[in-house]
Amino acid sequence: MNVILKIWRQPSKDTPGGFETYPVADVSPDMSFLEMLDVLNETLTQSGKEPIAFESDCREGICGTCGLFINGRAHGPGLGITTCELRMRRFKSGETIVVEPWRAKAFPVLKDLIVDRSSFDRIIQSGGYVSVNTGNALDGNTLPIAKTKADEAFDAATCIGCGACVATCKNASAMLFTAAKVSQLALLPQGEVEAQDRVINMVKTMELEGFGHCSNTGACEIECPKQISLTHIARLHREYLKATFK
C-alpha cells in the first residue's frame, strides 16, 4: 500500500514548526506504524535530508515512550493500543495520515514529534510512592490484601505514563495519570499512612506544572492505551475531599 504523511516538523523548542508532506510507497500492512516511519527516515537520510525525530523504545506497548497524535487521535486509530502497537493494516492505501506531537502546555515540543514529559516525573516525585526505606519490610505475607482490592490496584498501576490522556483532553489535564497513582496506593494498606499528603501534594504539583482542570469529559479514558478507568478519578476526588475537609 501507499500512504501520504503530513508530519509536524519543528527544529527545536524555541523555533516555530509546520507540516511537511512525505509520500511513502510499498508499505506492508503487517508493518508497524513506527517501522513505516523508520523506512521513511532511512530514505530521508540516504537522500541527505534530515530524518524525522520521534521517540520509541520497547515497541511493545509497555514503556510509554512512543506517543503520536495520528489523524486527530492520541496513539492513532484503535482502542487500547499505543502508537508502537499500531499496524499499517488499520489504514487504507492512498490515505493521507496527519502526524503531530502531543500538544499541551506542560509537554513542550523538543524537536519534531518529541515532547518533554518530565512534568509527569515531578508529579510522582511529589508523592507517588510509599515512603519505605530498603531493609524495613516485614514478610510479604504478613498483611493479607483482598484479591479484588489488589486487582483493582493493579488496574490503576498499569498506567505507562505515556501522556495520551493529556494530549486528548481539551483542557490538557493530567487527572487520569495522577488519579491512577493516587488510586493504586489508596486501595492498598501500604499507601494508607501517607494518603492525605499524597493526594494534596500530587494535585498541587499537577496544577503548578501547567496542566489544566478536569471537566469530566471522559475522553482520556477512551484514548488511554491501558484503559485506565474514570473510577480512579472519582476515587482521587474522594481522597482529596477526605484530606481537605478534616
Partner: protein
C-alpha cells in the same frame, strides 16, 4: 593482573554474613561527603540509587531515557523468583541455589549464586511494602506459579507485567530521593566514557541528548547498571535503544569483560515478518506451561495447522524430553526449534514452529486460558493479525538476554577499583544460561541488598583528591569522536550497518556456532568496521538533539563488542548453556561440557594495539557437582 574474586571464607551459608561483618562501614555523617554516580536507572540502577540515597550518600543518577520509568526492565513479563516456599512444595534457599547453578550449566560462581538465593526473599517483602500489586490468592496472600526449567512454584508475578510493577516500585523509591535532592537525576543524558584517575574510576563523561552538551561529572565511585547487549544482534526482544556503550567504554578503560559469548536466545518470540522489522516481541515463557510445541512430520506440509491430524504432528520436545517436555530450559528449547527448522520442518516460510493451545482450551475451557494468557494473546493478535484462540501460534527463538557482562568480584566491583557493575550489565550469577524469572531477582538483589553494603567497604577507605578538571582530556576525546561521526558523509546509514552486524552475529555467533563460521565472522566484522569508518552517512546537521548521532555512536561500539563475542566463542572449546559449539556435542545432540579444561569464567582485557587478552577465573564446585544436564 590476577583475578581475585574476593570470595569470603567459611561455609557457603555464612559467607555473606561473614563478608558483611568484615567490611568497613561509612558512618552516617561521612556518607554525606561521599559522592556516587549511578549510570542506568532500570531495576538495578534505580534500586541502588534509591537505597544509597536513603543511606545518605550524595548520588547522581543518569539515564538516556526521558524518565527512569522507561528503562527496559519495564518490559519483563513473567515474574520474579524467591524461595519463600509459600507453595509448600519443598522449596528452599538451597534448592534455588542448586537450580540456578545447574540451569547455568555449571559456569557461575557458587558463592555469588548462594547469596542471590539467600537475599531474594527480601525483595518480595520490600516490594510488597512499596505497594507493588503482586498477584494474590482469594485468601489475600501472595500467589506463585512455576516457570521454565524448575519443578517448584516460586515465581511471584503481577499479571504479565511483573517488570513494569517492580520498576515502578523502584522508580517511586528513586523519585522520593530526587524530591529531597538526595539524588540528582540526569535524564536524557548518556554516558559516553569513563574517567579513570590513577587507576580508580572517578567519574564519567556524558552528553546531554537535548542540548548536545558534553560534560564531565566527578565522584568517589561509579556504578554501571546499564543493562544487556542483545541488540548486538540488531533484532532482539530488547528495547530498541538498549545498548552496550557504557560497559564497552568502561572495558576500553580497563574493566575486564566476562563471558561475552554467553547470550540467551529465548524460544518463544513472534517470528519476524519482513525486512523492515525493527525488533522482536517476546511471548512469555509461561505460555509453555499450557501450550504444546510441534511441527508437521512432513517437510513443507502446506496444510493449515488445524487441518493437520495428530498422527502427522511431531511434538518434538515431548518426544525427546519425556519428563520435562515443553518445559525444558530456554537454551534447549531454542536450539531444538532451530534444528527442526534447519532440517526443513519449519512452518510459515520455514522459520517458525507451532505453539498450540487447542488441547488446553479443550481441557480447561477458553475462559481459563484467557484468564491466564489473555493479554499475551491480545498482543499476538494485534501484531500478527491472527487469533491464537483458533489458530496455533507461530513462534521462533530470538536473542533476549546476555549472561556475559563486565567481570565483577563478590563485591560487584570490576577490575577498575571504584567501578561497580550491577544487573544485566555484569556477568555474575547466571553462568552460561539464565533461568526464567531470575534476572529481575538478580537486578534487585544487586541494587537493594548487595551494593549498598559492599560500596561502603570501598568508600570507607581514604581516596586521593582529584581535580575537577581531571576529566577534561577524556571530554575532548569524546568530542572529537562525535565530531568525526557527525560529519560522516559516506553512503550507508547507521541502521543499515547495524543490520549487517546483526546478520553476521545471528548466522555465525547465534544459537549454534562452529570454528569455520566464527573465523568467517571475525573477517566479516573487520570488513564491517572498515565500512563503518569509510562509508557511514549521517544527514542530521548539528549536535543538538540528533538521534542519528546517538545511533551511530552505539553501533560503533556494538561492532567492537561483536568482535570480542566471536573471539570468546572461538576460545571456549566446549558447549555449555547458551553457547553451543557444534564440534562439542553428545551423540544425542546435547551440549557437551568440558569440565576438565573449560570450567572457568573468561575475562577479557582490552588492548589498544593488539588482540584482547584472555584471563581465566577458575570455578570450583564444592556443593553442586557438575553433571550432564538431563531433562529427559
Amino acid at each position: 593482573m590476577s583475578l581475585d574474586a574476593r570470595i569470603p571464607e567459611g561455609p557457603i551459608q555464612q559467607k555473606w554474613d561473614h563478608c558483611k561483618f568484615e567490611m568497613k562501614l561509612v558512618s552516617p555523617a561521612n556518607r554525606r561527603k561521599r559522592s556516587v554516580i549511578v549510570v542506568g536507572t532500570g531495576l538495578a540502577g534505580a534500586s541502588a540509587a534509591a537505597s544509597l540515597g536513603e543511606m545518605g550518600y550524595n548520588v547522581s543518577a543518569f539515564t538516556y531515557h526521558d524518565s527512569p520509568r522507561r528503562a527496559h526492565s519495564i518490559a519483563a513479563q513473567g515474574g520474579i523468583n524467591a524461595p519463600k516456599n509459600y507453595a509448600n512444595d519443598g522449596d528452599s534457599i538451597y534448592r534455588l541455589f542448586y537450580d540456578t547453578i545447574k540451569g547455568g550449566d555449571y559456569r557461575a560462581r557458587e558463592a555469588n549464586v548462594y547469596r542471590l538465593a539467600q537475599l531474594s526473599g527480601n525483595i518480595i517483602d520490600h516490594c510488597v511494602a512499596q505497594g507493588v500489586p503482586f498477584a494474590r490468592e482469594y485468601g489475600g496472600l501472595l500467589a506463585n506459579r512455576s516457570f521454565g526449567g524448575v519443578q517448584v512454584s516460586r515465581t511471584f508475578y503481577a499479571r504479565g507485567q511483573t517488570g513494569q510493577q517492580l520498576l515502578l516500585g523502584a522508580y517511586g523509591a528513586l523519585s522520593r530521593q530526587v524530591h529531597t535532592n538526595q539524588v540528582r537525576m540526569f535524564s536524557r543524558t548518556e554516558m559516553l566514557d569513563l574517567i579513570v584517575v590513577d587507576g580508580r574510576a572517578r567519574g564519567i563523561v556524558a552528553r546531554d541528548l537535548v542540548s548536545g552538551k558534553i560534560s564531565s561529572h566527578m565522584a568517589d565511585a561509579v556504578i554501571l547498571a546499564t543493562g544487556g547487549y542483545s541488540n548486538v544482534f540488531y533484532l532482539s526482544t530488547n528495547a530498541i535503544n538498549s545498548n552496550a556503550t557504557a560497559i564497552w567504554r568502561a572495558h576500553k578503560r580497563g574493566a575486564y569483560f566476562a563471558n561475552p559469548c554467553f547470550t540467551q536466545i529465548h524460544p518463544t518470540c513472534i517470528p519476524r515478518a519482513g525486512e523492515s522489522q525493527s525488533k522482536l516481541t517476546l511471548m512469555s515463557e509461561s505460555l509453555r506451561n499450557d501450550g504444546r510445541i510441534w511441527v508437521p512430520k512432513q517437510k513443507g506440509d502446506k496444510r493449515r495447522a488445524r487441518d493437520i491430524p495428530e498422527s502427522d504432528r511431531d511434538y518434538y520436545l515431548e518426544r525427546i524430553y519425556p519428563s520435562f517436555g515443553n518445559l525444558v530450559p530456554r537454551d534447549v528449547a531454542s536450539r531444538r526449534a532451530k534444528e527442526m527448522c534447519d532440517n526443513g520442518y519449519g512452518v510459515a516460510g520455514g522459520y517458525a514452529v507451532y505453539l498450540d493451545f487447542a488441547d488446553a482450551i479443550q481441557r480447561d475451557g477458553k475462559d481459563s486460558v484467557e484468564q491466564k494468557y489473555g493479554n499475551l494473546f491480545d498482543i499476538y493478535h494485534e501484531i500478527t493479525g491472527e487469533n491464537p484462540y483458533t489458530t496455533a501460534m507461530k513462534i521462533y527463538p530470538a536473542p533476549h538476554y546476555t549472561m556475559g557482562g563486565l567481570w565483577v568480584d563478590y563485591h560487584l566491583m570490576t577490575t577498575i577499583p571504584g567501578l561497580f557493575a550491577l544487573g544485566e550489565a555484569n556477568f555474575s550469577d547466571h553462568g552460561a544460561n539464565r533461568l526464567g524469572a531470575s534476572a529481575l531477582m538478580q537486578c534487585l538483589t544487586d541494587g537493594y541488598f548487595v551494593l549498598p553494603y559492599t560500596i561502603g567497604d570501598y568508600l570507607a577507605k581514604p581516596l586521593p583528591h582529584v581535580s575537577e578538571d581531571a576529566g577534561k582530556p577524556i571530554e575532548r576525546e569524546v568530542t572529537d569522536r562525535l565530531n568525526i561521526l557527525s560529519n560522516a558523509s559516506g553512503s550507508q546509514t547507521a541502521m543499515s550497518l547495524h543490520q549487517k552486524l546483526g546478520h553476521i552475529m545471528w548466522d555465525k555467533c547465534g544459537m549454534s556456532r562452529n570454528e569455520t563460521g566464527l573465523k568467517e565472522a571475525l573477517n566479516d566484522i573487520k570488513t564491517l568496521k572498515e565500512t563503518f569508518q569509510k562509508d557511514l552517512k549521517l544527514s542530521t546537521p548539528g549536535q543538538t538533539l540528533n538521534q542519528e548521532l546517538e545511533r551511530a555512536n552505539r553501533v560503533a561500539d556494538y561492532i567492537e563488542l561483536g568482535e570480542l563475542m566471536v573471539q570468546d566463542a572461538l576460545t571456549r572449546e566446549e558447549s555449555c548453556g547458551g553457547h553451543f559449539r557444534e564440534e562439542h556435542q553428545t551423540e544425542e545432540n546435547e551440549a557437551k561440557r568440558n569440565d576438565e579444561n573449560q570450567s572457568y569464567v573468561s575475562a577479557w582485557a582490552y588492548s589498544e594495539k593488539k588482540e584482547a587478552v584472555l584471563h581465566k577465573e577458575a570455578l570450583a564446585f564444592d556443593h553442586v557437582k557438575p553433571t550432564q544436564r538431563s531433562y529427559k
